[in-house]
């Protein structure tokens, strides 16, 4: 019952947003639904229900390990969006608010889906719901980003459907009888023909990897993150990618049960390290601070893939990193949105001296930068360290070395860019044009809260959440 409320509540909010007449009051639907969603999620976390064997929607340990993060991101972003949309009086936000709410409903559905077909439908619908969010700004660049997102994301999602069909056919041939619930698939996977399992893994990895933004299917990410409003960036980087990662973990469980553990671990490790290195190289070259966040996100998706490849301890570390990366990235996206509005541009050539113009936002951005590059005592430090420890534990020192080298490169790239825009003298263009940007409380408190959350996870992880990570690992990798 509570599972359904998590899906239906945001949808009801979306429907209400479409018919809501008050322009000034409509954005308040976001925090209202956000509070409701967070309350139900907390109840679910504290008193988990038994998972029904044949259910298509239910929240198991893996859902509970990440759903609270998605709920929290949406809640705080809801408050930020109220302040943001007040600044953006020029754009009509009826569709924007409705699409944000619909996306939250679909994410909740996808995270709780216990059926591969249902999971796919939710993932596809999330892609569609993102489209109005990406071209909210209505500029030519926003349309370009939307088109690329649609084409690349659509192709990815199509390939993952083909992968789902391969798995379905393998199950029809084996003893599964074509039942696409994850429980049935895992139970009968040992009878699946190997060629179909390999085909399914390749296609599903390509498909959900596109949604996560793993190299080489990451090309939509810089464009989309660069052009979308900060709130949308948070939900894409913390919500949609998390959903895709959870989907990959569920598929991996099935393929592993079919005897493909070595294949899944090798491919994930390879694609993860490749993503980290490529993203780090792009970070050294990029000149736009919003696109910088996208490459940083590609890098952290690589960390998740590497973690998932490193056995049980690695998966627990990856789930930890989902949280720390989500919270820290959220703070950075919101701060970057403020900087972008204050400066009117987002490249190094046009923006400098932001510490003079928006002192609080700049400080938040710099601290967020230090946090995301794994400087203690913030969350990413702790989670990256546990991923590294898991790689060493599986006896792969070379992989660990590549991993740490990519982290170092990205640290150089990120600090170079961030200090270039924060320090120095304000540029004439930024000083002269437009009304003075006021740092209202509504747009400062949300990024600060996310940063504090990141700090909290770095110092001490809340026990109920850590327990869900362990339960999720036990569910995904049953002791044999």
């Amino acid at each position: 019952m509570m599972e359904l409320i998590l899906v239906l509540l945001p949808f009801a909010g979306a429907g209400l947003a479409l018919i809501w007449r008050g322009r000034r009051t409509r954005p308040y639907l976001l925090p209202v639904v956000g509070v409701g969603h967070a309350v139900v999620t907390t109840l679910l976390l504290l008193s988990p229900a038994e998972v029904d064997a044949g259910a298509w929607i239910s929240s198991d340990a893996l859902t509970r390990a990440v759903l609270p993060l998605v709920s929290l991101l949406f809640l705080v972003c809801g408050f930020y969006a109220v302040a943001y949309l007040r600044v953006r009086e020029d754009r009509d936000h009826r569709i924007f608010v409705a699409a944000l709410l619909a996306m939250q409903g679909l994410l909740s559905l996808a995270l709780q889906a216990q059926h591969l077909g249902l999971l796919w439908i939710a993932a596809e619908a999330t892609t569609l719901a993102t489209i109005p969010l990406l071209h909210f700004n209505g500029t030519a660049r926003a349309f370009e980003a939307t088109w690329k997102y649609l084409l690349i994301g659509g192709t990815g999602i199509a390939l993952s459907l083909l992968g789902a069909f391969c798995l379905g056919y393998a199950s029809l041939q084996g003893t599964g009888g074509g039942d696409l619930t994850f429980r049935a698939l895992t139970g009968s996977a040992s009878t699946f023909a190997t060629p179909w399992l390999v085909a399914a893994w390749v296609l599903l990895l390509a498909g959900f990897g596109t949604k996560m933004g793993l190299v080489p299917m990451h090309t939509w990410k810089p464009d989309a993150y660069g052009e979308a409003p900060g709130v949308v960036g948070v939900l894409l980087a913390g919500g949609v990618t998390t959903m895709a990662f959870v989907a990959l973990l569920r598929v991996k469980q099935v393929v592993d049960a079919g005897g493909g553990t070595e294949m899944t671990q090798r491919t994930l490790l390879l694609i993860g390290l490749f993503s980290m290195v490529v993203a780090a190289l792009f970070l050294l070259g990029t000149r736009d601070f919003k696109r910088m966040l996208a490459y940083s996100s590609v890098e952290h998706m690589g960390i998740l893939a590497v973690g998932a490849a490193a056995g049980g301890a690695g998966i627990a570390a990856a789930l930890f990193h989902v949280w720390t990366n989500g919270l820290t990235k959220a703070s950075l996206f919101l701060a970057a949105g403020n900087l972008r509005r204050a400066a009117g541009a987002s490249t190094v050539g046009e923006v400098a001296g932001m510490a003079w113009r928006v002192p609080v936002t700049s400080r938040l951005f710099v601290v967020g930068l230090l946090a995301i590059t794994a400087i203690p005592p913030f969350g990413p430090f702790a989670s990256v360290m546990s991923v590294v420890r898991a790689i060493f534990a599986t006896g792969q020192p070379v992989s660990a070395a590549v991993f740490l080298f990519a982290m170092l490169l990205s640290f150089i790239g990120l600090t170079r860019l961030v200090f270039a825009i924060v320090d120095g003298r304000p540029r004439t263009r930024a000083r002269g044009t437009g009304p003075q940007f006021a740092e209202a409380r509504g747009i400062l408190v949300p990024p600060l809260l996310f940063l504090l959350g990141s700090l909290w996870f770095g110092v001490a992880v809340p026990e109920p959440i850590r327990r869900q990570w362990d339960l999720a690992v036990r569910m995904l990798m049953p002791p044999s």
Binding site: I121, E144, L150, L151, A158, W196
Partner: protein, 213 residues
């Protein structure tokens, strides 16, 4: 029945190649529409699955893939006054040859996959891989937004072919979700095409190059 089905699959694979070789966008859309009609007939020809489910799937496929989506694409094309792919990224003959090679490879791959005895003499798996990869190819080698949308439809058609292997076992919801998503996807593509045209006065995605490193 199997012979009729294989004939239709052969027709679909032929249409892939014809679409790859066509320079006029109207004819690409027509070939895709014809492909949609052929796909719509297939559920009725599959042996052993004569449940009531095949009828709505067939009717919906013919209506969507054969008529509705092609007419949406034609309308988008009329509003932007373009007719030909002037500068394809890869010429028509090379793309045809590449498409033919892909088709041969895909059919060979399909033949290598282990199939159930009742599917052993049907080309569905190979035809599905061939159509999906030709769709990907069409998306890559053409630069006009509408041709790329056609390529996406071809990719979806290939996936639909594979879905036919599962029509007896996959619950109705999955089939419905596929069709629904497809419509919405193209509907959205139509809107975006419209917007690209307004913003850039062209439907050539190769002008979409502001965002890069």
């Amino acid at each position: 029945m199997t012979d009729a089905l294989n004939l239709l699959i052969g027709l679909v694979m032929g249409l892939n190649l014809v679409a790859l070789a066509s320079s006029r966008i109207t004819s690409v859309i027509s070939w895709i529409a014809l492909q949609g009609l052929a796909l719509g007939l297939m559920p009725l020809l599959i042996e052993g699955h004569h449940t009531w489910l095949v009828w709505p799937v067939a009717v919906a496929t013919v209506a969507l893939k054969g008529f509705l989506i092609p007419s949406l694409l034609r309308r988008a094309m009329r509003t932007v006054h373009i007719d030909r792919e002037v500068r394809p990224l890869l010429g028509y003959v090379p793309s045809l040859l590449l498409g033919a090679a892909t088709t041969i490879g895909a059919v060979a791959l399909g033949a290598m996959m282990p199939l159930l005895p009742e599917h052993a003499h049907v080309l569905l798996a190979g035809g599905s891989f061939a159509t999906a990869s030709c769709g990907l190819l069409l998306m890559i080698v053409r630069s006009k937004a509408i041709t790329q949308a056609c390529g996406y439809l071809m990719l979806e058609n290939g996936i639909y072919l594979f879905g036919l292997l599962l029509i007896g076992s996959t619950p109705l919801l999955v089939e419905a979700g596929i069709l629904l998503d497809l419509t919405v996807a193209v509907f959205v593509i139509g809107i975006i095409v419209d917007r690209i045209q307004q913003e850039f006065d062209s439907l050539d995605t190769s002008v979409l190059t502001t965002l890069r490193e």
